[in-house]
């Protein structure tokens, strides 16, 4: 718990940097560091698999995608202006934030082992996965065994994304 607050502050600061910096390439690199801070927070929460995926796919691949887009642009396009904030946002965003924070009282306490999310199906997975699937890592067992169709269809989503990229970026006859 001691490391949690500094990491959360780091998270908000890197996100603020990525949003506020006027140079787009710097903003993309700060977004990469935001992903790494997020991976650290997740590792601290016990979600090591999610942290791995975020560090590799989020910080690595997403940064590469952004940079590939920006390397084709000229310098005048990556130096941007900061638009003035409309008054509706001044009123609306704090109001929305207050509403969301007001709802926080109904959420289960942080780290509560009897929260609704933790007593439904996940104890079944934890208790039976070694006997049923012979896999010590429960996340792998659920991803590749109990919910393998979910993962299978997800690869179709990735495939569709790749095809869409290839079709959009195709050069030649128009």
């Amino acid at each position: 718990m001691t490391f949690e607050l500094p990491l959360l502050v780091l998270l908000v600061m890197t996100a603020a940097g990525a949003i506020l910096v006027k140079d787009l390439i710097s903003a993309v690199f700060i977004l990469g560091s935001y992903s790494f801070a997020l991976a650290l927070v997740w590792a601290l929460l016990g979600a090591v698999d999610v942290a791995f995926v975020e560090a590799v796919v989020g910080a690595g691949l997403a940064t590469v995608f952004f940079l590939l887009t920006l390397f084709r642009t000229e310098e005048k396009d990556t130096q941007i202006r900061r638009p003035p904030m409309p008054w509706a946002a001044f009123v609306g965003l704090p109001l929305l934030a207050l509403l969301l924070l007001y709802g926080a009282g109904d959420l289960p306490a942080f780290g509560d082992p009897t929260s609704p999310a933790s007593v439904h199906i996940s104890p079944t997975y934890l208790e039976n996965s070694v006997a049923q699937t012979r896999t010590p890592n429960v996340v792998t067992a659920v991803l590749m065994d109990y919910r393998s169709f979910d993962t299978f269809i997800e690869t179709i989503v990735i495939f569709t994304g790749g095809i869409a990229c290839a079709l959009i970026l195709r050069r030649g006859r128009s």
Binding site: L5, L8, V12, A15, A18, I19, L24, A27, V28, L31, S35, L38, L45, G46, A47, D49, V50, V53, V57, G58, L61, A62, F65, T69, R72, D77, T78, P83, P86, A89, L93, L96, L100, L101, A104, G105, L107, F110, G111, D112, P113, S115, A117, S122, P123, L126, E127, P136, V138, V139, V142, L143, D150, E154, V157, I158, G161, C165, I168, L169
Partner: protein
């Protein structure tokens, strides 16, 4: 009011989620630059995933990798289900980000600008 502040102090993750979600959402909707919009989109997506993963934490719980033999105490390991769903979500998020960046790239190729207002001027 004091009660609300106390509940929020016990849930710093939720406060961070609200800040990241609303700020990213505002940038996504209001910023004229396409790449900044996508940075906002990325922050919104990761904040939602962050919210889900925060639910999986249990006090004093270990990483959900079972090395001991015999009966397993479910309260001793973090909830694996949000981890599984969010691993899938992160990969899909980056795939959609790739498609939207490809769209931005093809817009730039045609209009030589990353700014929404400049593109709209050329369209009129």
């Amino acid at each position: 009011m004091v009660e609300l502040l106390q509940t929020l102090w016990q849930r710093p993750n939720f406060v961070v989620f609200v800040i990241l979600f609303l700020w990213g959402f505002y940038i996504m909707a209001a910023h004229p630059n396409f790449v900044k919009k996508l940075i906002g989109l990325y922050i919104v997506q990761t904040s939602a995933i962050f919210f889900l993963v925060a639910f999986s934490a249990k006090d004093g719980a270990a990483v959900p990798i079972i090395i001991s033999e015999g009966v397993v105490d479910a309260a001793a390991y973090a909830n694996p289900l949000p981890h599984v769903l969010t691993v899938t979500a992160i990969v899909v998020q980056v795939a959609t980000l790739g498609v939207s960046l490809a769209l931005v790239s093809s817009i730039y190729r045609k209009y030589r600008s990353l700014d929404e207002d400049e593109v709209m001027e050329q369209l009129e």
